[in-house]
Amino acid sequence: MSVAVAFGWRVKWASGYWLMLTLIALFAPVLAPHSPQMQDLAHTLQPVAWLPGGNWHFPLGTDVLGRCQFSRLLFGSRVVVLVAFLAALGSAVIGTTLGLLAGYFKGWIERSIMFVVDVWMAFPAVVLAMLLIVALGPSLGNVVLAIILVDWTRFCRVIRSDTLQLANQPYVLAARIAGASQLSVLCRELLPGVLPTLIVLCSLQMGSAIVAESILAFVGMSVGPAEASWGAMIAQGLGYAFSAPWLVLPPIIATVSAILASIMLGTGLRYAARTTSSRRVSREPER
């Protein structure tokens, strides 16, 4: 069952970025010059190394508590990588299962699942996530859980409409005639069919998860004051935006580039999926 897939430049660049970020997250203790929590009160608000007043001991300067920004940036990547992958995976698993069930079995199963989805989505995602954090307490695990619980509905809706389309195809019926059980039809015929959409959604979801975490961190409801998180760095650095821009700019750039990478991955995968399913000849080529 091998099909040659054409991956364009987007997928390559984005995968490269994520690989690099994952490596940074893994080796942060080795790469970072200091511990992210260490406060050096003698050297607060030091600027970036190459500006007057800075030194290479703190490459990106320090914040108001004397913490090394560079180390915090490196350690913050752990939060980002974990949140992105785990949250995307978790929402994918829950959303896809329920979406497949709703789209295939229809009837009251579909109606009840979609009712739950409608109710869930009637809540602005940010508010729901905040409430969950307040309830569960701020920690990395709870942040991931909150994002999963908020975002699974997006998967469910899209996968369900995809499944509805696919389940109508005669080859699903033909599989039943050939002797497949319902479970087998779901796994062998429908799941591979929704896999392209699923993969694209997952990569986009990584971006939304990062956004969600940074919003939560901004309002102080993310991983807690001890751990380093890019969103917290932005929140804390905002007050010094004019006097000490090195506090707020690197985490902004880092967050934006991570989100950009996940969007690029999603777009690139979508192009790749289109060229292999080859439905229309005149599809626009990837630029």
């Binding site: 069952m1 033909a174 050939a178 399913s277 005149s282």
Partner: protein
């Protein structure tokens, strides 16, 4: 009625000389040479892949990317269309050259009403706004649409395929063009509607003296409608002449093969002699030097190494062939069959499937309009081993519903089924028994095959859930492929990489995996080229000889039914209205529906 435009001396509407279209690898249209006079209908006939649609695309300047006109001239009413500026060409479209596409419903914007589409068209023609409404109604009346005011207010999805096609014809004729190009305009319609639309086209064309270019793969239809025929093979024009000449004495071996591959509706039963192989695809064209038909031609000689030139024959037709014009092409002739043996009229074993008083209704409409609509009523018949039965009827008569109930995909509301003496219920054991004995192939071969699985996996799909060794499975796949005539090289291909005929063979092979007693074939050869169709039909006959499989064939093509089936059942509105020996029913039909079907098959139009 809009009066026919007064013309001067009849002139040539379209003149094409030496037209060639190239891609970067091959010449996909070679040396097309013909002319179309005013008021004549020319049929361009070719199997799929021959390049007939390319011709209409050249006219409309809508060639896909990578295709370009490399040689030749195309003049329309004296104007060279290939070199004229884009604005001048666009000006002609819709006014003097009109196109009628294949999928009528898709060709109309779904969010605009019919009257809005007409108004846009009239605005383009430059007609006064006040007259639009009256003209639109006139146009709809001229294509025999009842209640024109009502139709004008509707949207395309509310009209049937046939009605949409009539609307397009109305728009085309309303511009009073010099030339109308119909690109497979009736292929998507059912045969009865097809015939009506074609007759309508002919009437309108005669009234107004418009020239028509009718592109189709259906040689019979073209013969019925057109004055002249042009036969295309692999991008080359092989024969061009008047219809009577070509039908009575076809000159080119390919034309002869096309004519011989159609199952006849009348006369003695004769084994079909299809051409072996298939038309070369675009990728393999560069490797063909000389005459492109030579590999399949029975009398290819050394002269066929050079591309033959177009020559005019004594009777006025044009032929492109170097040798053996008057001999027969090589055919894959099946072992000579006795007609009665082929049709399974010999030997009588007791029936293995019995259906008694089957009935089924569907719940339609939403509250408060919910009602029960009967799909099947009082169905009674039986099938013996090795028997081929045809099931015919107008669309909506319940043939597909019956097939699904027999397969167990739907449960009947009344009646009983017996398989091998034991009754069939809706429980799991019945389903297993049924699955072993009965298999169903669907019409649209491309959507019934999982696009992500390879050919060998699909052939043995029913072995997915059985504990079978890989070697056994492979052996079974090879045996099945051989039985249905699929070469081993195709084993790792995906369905999208197969041709229509190959996919249909795959469908049949898959159904045969467990050696069922009954194969239900729902429109198994519709949409296939004539020669491929003939190959599949002979394959089914061979399978019956070897495995004694019974077949329930659902088809709208009565010629196919006559060729394959010993018995036929005619359905109308959920009931079997006539059944019996095929030869007897077709020669002396008793029920009006049967008579109607036979008339349509013989291209006799009723003027109601």
């Amino acid at each position: 009625m809009i009066a026919a435009k007064a013309h001067g001396a009849p002139g040539r509407v379209l003149e094409i000389r030496g037209l060639s279209v190239d891609t970067e690898h091959a010449q996909v249209l070679q040396g097309i040479d013909f002319s179309l006079e005013q008021g004549r209908i020319l049929g361009i006939v070719g199997e799929s892949g021959a390049g007939k649609s390319l011709l209409s695309k050249v006219l409309g300047r809508a060639l896909p990317e990578g295709f370009r006109v490399s040689a030749g001239s195309l003049s329309f009413a004296g104007q060279d269309l290939l070199v004229c500026p884009a604005s001048a060409h666009r000006d002609l479209l819709g006014k003097r050259i009109c196109f009628v596409p294949q999928d009528a419903q898709q060709a109309l914007n779904p969010v605009l009403s019919i009257s809005q589409q007409f108004n846009e068209h009239f605005e383009r023609l430059g007609l006064a706004p006040g007259s639009w409404s009256a003209m639109a109604q006139d146009a709809l009346r001229s294509v025999q649409l009842a209640q024109p005011e009502r139709v004008l207010g509707q949207y395309p999805h509310q009209l049937s395929g046939g009605m949409c096609q009539r609307v397009l014809l109305a728009m085309a004729f309303a511009s009073q063009p010099d030339l109308i190009v119909c690109d497979e305009a009736t292929t998507a319609l059912d045969p009865a509607t097809q015939l009506k639309i074609v007759s309508l086209l002919r009437d309108l064309q005669r009234d107004r003296g418009t020239a028509v270019l009718f592109i189709t793969h259906d040689l019979d239809l073209a013969a019925h409608l057109c004055d002249q025929l042009l036969v295309l093979y692999a991008g080359t024009m092989v024969e061009f002449g008047s219809t009577e000449q070509i039908l009575s004495a076809p000159g080119h071996p390919y034309t002869r093969a096309l004519l011989n591959a159609r199952p006849a509706l009348t006369g003695d039963w004769q084994a079909l002699q299809p051409l072996c192989g298939q038309m070369p695809s675009m990728e393999s064209l560069p490797s063909l030097e000389g005459c492109r038909f030579a590999p399949r031609c029975g009398q290819a000689g050394p002269t066929c190494q050079q591309p033959p030139s177009l020559q005019q024959q004594a009777d006025g037709r044009w032929l492109r062939c170097c040798g053996g014009q008057w001999a027969n092409a090589v055919t894959a002739s099946p072992a000579s069959m006795d007609a009665r043996y082929a049709l399974g009229l010999l030997g009588s074993a007791p029936p293995f499937l019995r259906v008694e008083n089957l009935g089924q209704s569907d719940r339609v409409g939403r509250w408060p309009n919910r009602r029960l609509e009967p799909r099947l009523q009082g169905i009674d018949f039986s099938i013996a081993p090795g028997e081929f039965i045809g099931l015919v009827g107008p669309s909506g008569s319940g043939k597909s519903s019956l097939a699904r109930i027999l397969m167990g995909l739907k449960a009947p509301d009344t009646g009983r089924l017996w398989l091998n003496g034991e009754p069939l219920g809706v429980d799991r054991a019945s389903w297993e028994r049924r699955r072993q004995a009965v298999q169903l192939t669907f019409q649209n071969s491309s959507t019934t095959l999982n696009p992500r699985r390879t050919l060998s996996e699909l052939l043995t799909q029913s072995l997915d859930h059985q504990a079978v060794l890989r070697s056994e499975r492979k052996a079974r796949a090879e045996a099945l492929a051989q039985a249905v005539g699929l070469p081993l090289e195709l084993f790792s291909r995906l369905p999208a990489q197969l041709s229509g005929g190959q996919r249909q063979r795959l469908n049949i092979g898959r159904a045969l995996c467990n050696l069922p007693q009954l194969l239900i074939a729902d429109e198994i050869v519709s949409g296939l080229d004539v020669s491929v169709q003939a190959q599949i039909l002979n394959l089914l006959l061979a399978l019956r000889r070897e495995h004694k499989i019974a077949l329930l064939l659902i088809s709208h093509d009565l010629g196919v039914v006559r060729y394959l089936c010993g018995r036929v059942m005619v359905m109308d509105q959920g009931r079997i209205v006539e059944s019996g020996d095929t030869a007897k029913v077709f020669s002396a039909p008793r029920h009006p529906v049967t008579r109607q079907l036979l008339r349509a098959a013989r291209y006799e139009v009723e003027h109601a």
